[in-house]
């Protein structure tokens, strides 16, 4: 089992330059500590316009800072929105390669297509075509990284022959993932040989089904890259405290706050009728999980908060379902004071991590790590 940090970077109103800077600095301080404590990954999302919920619109910059401040922890650029109005594929190839160089080959590249009208509408993107453009992008990226020269004629973008520079540090290229929120995306991941970067907080039963299907299908995949990245990551909240009750209470507060922040955002399906967004995606799931910011009911099973013993039980269960990596959200709107986030990370590393031996993570470990 591997452990990672997962950053949405949510920032409470009123926004001031100092507050936004403080939250970013808090995150960097956590990453630096996580690196020292032996955490495996730090992931940062790409979101735009999602007020309070996520101010992480330039994750490549945040991750560059993470890479520079750390020695070992791997940096996950995920997910990069693979929709042309958001990101030109040449720019994705260039900046991920640069980040891989600067991090000394510690990059993972997550891909996805955005789930909110708040974002898609903001960029003037057509929700009907995001799955198709994602598919084009993920097939082009490995070639752009690996081939000396590259040219392409596609439906969503084209380019004449050029040399895309720089090339990634990792050979043949960094491990690739896809965000899995909507039902069925785990199949997209498996069929293309991509890692499954689970972003939902679904319970054991639903996750187990998805993981089984992913493992089954990936055996016969046509990988888009030079290797198969058979890994399943899931997302969780982390608050570890010596006292179980204190840990659970703060964890619930963290989870409820994060979920309630999703309230205002507009899932694509809410406003834009499209066969491409038949599922409601992550936001309604977060809303269902939240009854209010102070709700005392919680939520999904398997959450990583409480005392170390409770968290060990939850992680063991995830491990038994076939999860390779759990990425933790540490804060939301700064409801957990920074000193408590740091203490939680330390306690987790001291009391929980030793119970989970590192697995040699499938093909990616050989190829990309």
């Amino acid at each position: 089992m591997k452990f990672g940090l997962f950053y949405e970077i949510s920032i409470p109103r009123p926004w001031t330059p100092e507050k936004e800077r403080t939250v970013y600095n808090n995150c960097l301080e956590q990453v630096k500590l996580a690196d020292e404590l032996g955490f495996d990954h730090v992931w940062a999302v790409e979101h735009h316009f999602l007020e309070e919920y996520s101010h992480c619109s330039a994750p490549e910059l945040f991750l560059t800072a993470c890479a520079v401040l750390t020695k070992r922890i791997q940096v996950g650029h995920g997910i990069v929105v693979c929709v042309p109005e958001f990101n030109h594929p040449i720019k994705i190839a260039e900046r991920t390669a640069t980040l891989d160089l600067l991090s000394g080959g510690r990059l993972h590249v997550g891909t996805g297509r955005s789930a909110t009208w708040t974002e898609l509408g903001g960029f003037g993107a057509n929700p009907d075509t995001t799955k198709k453009s994602w598919d084009e992008f993920v097939r082009c990226l490995p070639k752009m990284w690996m081939q000396e020269t590259f040219s392409y004629q596609g439906e969503f973008w084209s380019m004449p022959e050029r040399t895309i520079l720089p090339k990634p540090y990792q050979k043949p290229h960094p491990p690739m993932w896809v965000a899995v929120t909507s039902p069925g995306t785990e199949i997209d991941a498996a069929d293309r040989g991509l890692g499954s970067l689970g972003l939902s907080f679904a319970g054991f039963e639903e996750q187990e089904k998805k993981i089984k299907e992913y493992r089954r299908r990936i055996q016969n995949c046509e990988p888009v890259g030079a290797f198969i990245n058979e890994q399943v990551a899931t997302t969780n909240f982390l608050f570890c405290h010596e006292d179980e009750k204190t840990g659970v209470e703060m964890g619930k507060k963290l989870g409820n706050t994060f979920n309630y922040l999703a309230t205002q955002l507009i899932s694509t399906r809410e406003v834009y009728s499209s066969p491409s967004y038949q599922s409601l995606g992550l936001l309604p799931a977060l809303r269902r999980a939240a009854t209010g910011p102070d709700a005392n009911e919680q939520q999904t099973e398997g959450m990583a908060y409480g005392d170390p013993a409770r968290i060990i039980r939850a992680v063991k269960k995830w491990e038994s379902l076939g999860v390779d990596c759990i990425n933790f959200i540490l804060n939301a709107n700064e409801v957990v004071p920074q000193d408590q986030v740091m203490a939680s990370l330390r306690l987790f590393a001291k009391e929980v991590m030793p119970h989970f031996a590192k697995k040699p993570g499938h093909v990616a470990a050989a190829a990309g790590e």
Binding site: P12, R13, F49, E51, E52, W117, T118, G121, G122, T257, N259, Y260, L261, A262, T263, Q264, L265, I266, R269, E270, V271, Y272, S273, S274, P275, Q278, L280, R287, R288, A290, T291, G292, P293, A295, N333
Partner: protein, 256 residues
Amino acid sequence: MPLYGSLDITQSPARLPTLANLDTEAWTLPKAEMMQLLIEVPRTTTEALLPKAMHPALPSYVILAVTKYPESPVGPFNLAVLRLGSRAGVHPRGFLLGAVASSSAAAEALRTRWGFPIDVGEVKFVRRHDRIIGTAKKDGKTILDCALVDPQPVAGNDVQYINWVTAANAPLDGQTQPMLIQVDPKYTFYKSERGKPQVSAFDAAAWHAPNVTLADPIIGTCCTVDTDLPRIRFVMDPLKPVFQGTRRIRESRADE
């Protein structure tokens, strides 16, 4: 935490519809043809229109809907409504800002049974092959002229309709008081189309939304559905956050 609306409906209860009770019987409304246009609007124009208990949707958007109800307990009628995309707690909702019905019987029932802020006027729903047109007139003046342009078939499960919220006075705990009322129709889809929204006339003031300007069209749908206006299940305190101020009036239906 999420933003809240700034409208205090308790300050002007006389402007609200009044319900005699919360025991409204359900209406069955078969084979309704509903055209719904979603359009983004500037946030600054909607803050004052949303009750304090609710959150805005970000970005702000409105739903213009024109529906032809061929059958109802008060006979056939057409209805045009303006709703504001919003949130009751964590749930997407359309807060009803204004409505026009083509029959006085329908208007009276919708006002006094579900709390619609509604007037009687001329409402037309016209289906052509190249577009579906909805118009509304009040006192002879056109207050809405809109269309769904170039309708193309989509599956019914591609379309999502969100529930409504109205503001009204109603008796609760022995006192008639302003409250928010959830109206949550069900839909069985027979035919669904999607197209571009087009609005050639919109009199914002006539819809009780004086500052709203229509900005960026999102999408339009037109669906033939069996639907209803159900019994009232939930009411909400207009001043408390919805997750603290919701009251269940009766149990959910068997199919929920």
